[in-house]
């Protein structure tokens, strides 16, 4: 499964400045593992020491927040868009 991953500004040091990169994987966890192979260091920014999504990272597969789905086990269909976004934005 090939997906397009939208990279937030603070992670673009790992992708050579690219805002969007391709990755392989049938689940979000596999996609992040593939990202790590291609862009070493990126997984440690997104995942905590226990390998879970950090609490201030939001990830969307297409339009769905993976926290409402199956987290890292969320399926990533071929051609899906994955968006990694800092969670600290917004609000009052």
């Amino acid at each position: 499964m090939s997906v397009n991953v939208r990279i937030p500004t603070i992670l673009r040091t790992y992708t050579g400045g690219k805002a969007e990169v391709a990755a392989e994987g049938g689940t979000l966890g596999e996609v992040i593992a593939d990202l790590e192979k291609k862009h070493t260091g990126i997984a440690a920014r997104v995942l905590d020491d226990q390998g879970k999504l950090r609490r201030f990272v939001n990830v969307y597969v297409n339009d769905d927040d993976v926290r409402f789905e199956q987290g890292l086990a969320t399926a990533t269909p071929d051609g899906a868009g994955v968006s990694i976004i800092p969670a600290v934005a917004g609000g009052c």
Binding site: P8, R55, Y60, D65, S83, V88, A89, G90, C92
Partner: protein, 439 residues
Amino acid sequence: MAVQTVETSPATGATAATGTPAVDFGPASGLSCRECGTRFELGPIFACAECFGPLEVAYDLPLGDPEALRKKIESGPANIWRYAPLLPVPADVADKPNLNPGWTKLVKADNLAREIGVEPGKLFVKDDSGNPTHSFKDRVVAQALEAARAFGFTTLSCSSTGNLAGAVGAAAARAGFRSCVFIPHDLEQGKVVMAAVYGGELVGIEGNYDDVNRFCSELIGDPLGEGWGFVNVNLRPYYGEGSKTLAYEICEQLGWVLPDQLVIPIASGSQLTKIDKGLKELIALGLVEDKPYKIFGAQAEGCSPVSAAFKAGQDVVRPQKPNTIAKSLAIGNPADGPYVLDIARRTGGAVEDVDDQQVVDAIKLLARTEGIFAETAGGVTVGVTRKLVEAGLIDPALTTVVLNTGDGLKTLDAVAETSQASATIKPSLEAFRSAGLAG
């Protein structure tokens, strides 16, 4: 006056450079990650590059001579800029074009106190509907505007549940910025009009606030958003500091005394955390005597992720899909939720919620007892206050300050159905007598 560093963040770690600000940020010394403590230079950034944690402003505050500082503040303007020595703004900030918000009324609410079982003289409403665009958002936008000026942005933007859009539009108009703000497409008409009237671009997004917020977060990383200052995204560390002025004002208006209990609405949770930060700064500066205080958070039941986590004893806030009339608080994925939990537990407070009917009842209760017409967020805080008093969690003998953060004219729909004319009569004394309203 001696200068020392006061930080409310964890110990600092490595320093990461992000650019040099073009102008003076007053006592602000840098940005610090609230999660891991990594330090950054002042810049238009909001998330930690190490752990994605929220960045907040660290200061070299003017410690050492509280009496001189108190006099300086008291002789300042009757707006938030009286606290300029404690904010990330230049000393001459009051001379720049902005809306000069703040110094709103702290109303002694004896009538309301009697109704909900609090000792008269002990209950106060901090009525922030008195700000220029009728909500507390003018405070935070004023800070973000100064940061936008400093970083050379020319467009001011935000994701908004309505109040912020109006505050950004108005501030941009006054300061000569372009504005382009984003809101959920189904907001209350009053808030749409109040945001559009200032002449900037207003864009409705098909989705809820969390969808709008996601959109703005993506826009900021795209060339389309280049040169834009999003007050609650890339300017969020500065923006949030505006809420500290609520803490400063409440204490000064109480005679430089800490309140014992505060009831604060929770949307993202930023306001509550910054009020706590402000209270701690006042203690560190010696402007108030240190004593325990309790902070209570208030949510609407239809969007109560923080309240649910508090009641379940959890540290993690599970996002919810909002469904409440309190749209200004309808953030299902609150960025500062975990910190709200920490503060409520640390201070011995709580987080509670009320349903939509209780919100409406509380709006009308505040209106008929104190003559204050609150928006739905004010109904949430008053409703939660009543609930917490009944539950014995708020001590009726201690000073309690309840926040009203916006004007009821913005959310007329909430009470329109049950707030109509008592009678419609012909213009005659007989008709009036017959209506039985002569008292």
